[in-house]
Amino acid sequence: MDILVSSLFAGLLIGMVLALVALGLTIIFGVMDIVNFAHGEFLMIGMYTGLLTAQATGVDPLFTLPVAGAVGFALGIICYYGFIKFVMRGPMVAQLLGTFGLMLFLRNLALLIFGSEDRSLHHGVLVGKSFELGMGIIIPATKLAAAGLSVAAFVAVWLLMNRTKVGKALTATALNPQGARYMGIPTERMNALAWGIGGGSATIAGALIVNFWSVNPFVGLLFTMIAFAIVALGGFGSVPGAFFAGLVVGLITEIPGFWDFMSYTFEFEWMMDVPMTSFKYMWVYVAYFVIMVFRPRGLFGWKQ
């Protein structure tokens, strides 16, 4: 039983991080109706930023978050003004191919600069430490910190969106851009801001994840796909939806590990035939399809 509770706990923790991974994607979609295929590449850049800043300065990886956030914010804004703005004038398919192109560009740029080998962090106050929470639950300190900081970042963005004037203006732009312009809201700048927030939250998530996950230039795609599933589950453009869907996806990715553990512990032949962990992301998509069939608007509905 302990191992089940432990799996659930681990699932929730990773789910909090995944929610932050999906946040930027759902905000950019909500404000501009554009799907950013390069989202995972932003996250990958955040991972490299966290890793390299920590290695170059010797500070603890957790203190690299502001640097990663700033890099992602700037990158998002540069992508918007330099590229996305022009792509938005074209048809839907141009937008899809446009952000897809951005993904390939960033990935190959990373390959050029960093090379293809895996890199990971070996220092930091939390690396290698773990907490025992009683009931046999052992949680790596890096994951606990990543989860806590993800929630903090998530709440900060939520407050920005819901409690500040600029957040209200972003919401108005999302709901009716022309109507927003007639209120005097500079929608072009709001779009850029959405990309800034989208990029910044992805790179912060990346700098958190690099504490327990190695990075290479191809790591982005996995996170893009997970973020897509979360955004679809939670409802396109919904910020609270992304949070709860993130938890759901986190649980789904941990439960197969529990399955495998049981099958080895009790030597259930039939269970061993299906090593679930190897397919854990498949279950995310199974859940995604089930929800699409029964609740196509996602758990928390579409924007509007």
């Binding site: 209200k168 009716n176 312009r181 209120m183 005097g184 500079p186």
Partner: protein, 238 residues
């Protein structure tokens, strides 16, 4: 009446090369209510959108308080004090009435002024106060129009441009909306009104322009226009 606030000088507008407005000139003075009438497709909305910078002015000038504004972006036009309440209302549907109204005050920064304007809108439309926490999408057509007008009033506009505010409303509500316009006029607001209810609109306006297929074919006081032959044949079928 006071000094000239808004002046259009021979503006031309085209939609993908096709001329829609030809050499339109008109002016609105401070404190005036000016009405533009014309049949469907005459170009009334296009005219207002051209003032807002949403539709490119191909030739001619738009002068607001002595300054050329035809090259400005919509947001900049709004912050100068020109407010457009579009035909389509363009409310922020899922959010509350009050949040819609507050977004109307985006260009203002003083809290006190915003609260004062909000109280003014609620005295003008008590029904909105009752429904202030309701999502805009749950309101009736008439109430939605009140939100649209109220949202426009929230920023202390120098000139308020209303595009067919009575569109799609039952006759009793049409009168209510036009009464509101009359009340704003009495408060000294400068108004540029586009209406399909020609008689009532010209009756309440100080002056009017008749727009026909992108040209101004008649202008004068409301009473003059209602009597003119041109106008009677175009609208009243007499």
């Amino acid at each position: 009446m006071g000094e000239n606030i808004l002046q259009l000088e021979a503006i031309k507008v085209r939609y993908s090369g096709l001329p829609v407005l030809h050499d339109i000139s008109l002016h609105v003075d401070s404190g005036e209510t000016v009405c533009v009438v014309g049949s469907n497709g005459a170009g009334k909305s296009t005219l207002l959108r051209a003032i807002m910078g949403t539709q490119r002015v191909f030739e001619g000038r738009v002068v607001f308080q002595g300054e050329e504004i035809q090259r400005l972006r919509t947001e900049a036009v709004v912050s100068k004090g020109i407010i457009y309440v579009p035909e389509e209302k363009m409310l922020f549907q899922p959010i509350s009435v009050e949040e819609n109204l507050r977004l109307g005050a985006y260009v203002l920064h003083d809290r006190g002024t915003i609260e004062k304007n909000l109280r003014f809108v609620y005295t003008l439309f008590p029904r909105l106060q009752e429904r202030r926490f309701q999502a805009a999408s749950t309101l009736s057509g008439g109430e939605q129009q009140m939100v649209a007008i109220g949202r426009g009033l929230m920023s202390n506009p120098t000139i308020l441009m209303l595009d067919e505010p009575s569109l799609g409303l039952a006759p009793i509500l049409v009168d209510e909306v036009l009464d509101t316009v009359r009340r704003l006029k009495a408060e000294g607001m400068t108004i540029l009104l586009v209406e399909q209810n020609v008689r009532e609109a010209l009756d309440l306006a100080d002056r009017g322009y008749v727009l026909q297929t992108g040209k101004i074919v008649a202008e004068g006081t409301g009473q003059e226009l209602l009597k003119s032959d041109m106008f009677r044949s175009a609208f009243l079928g007499i």
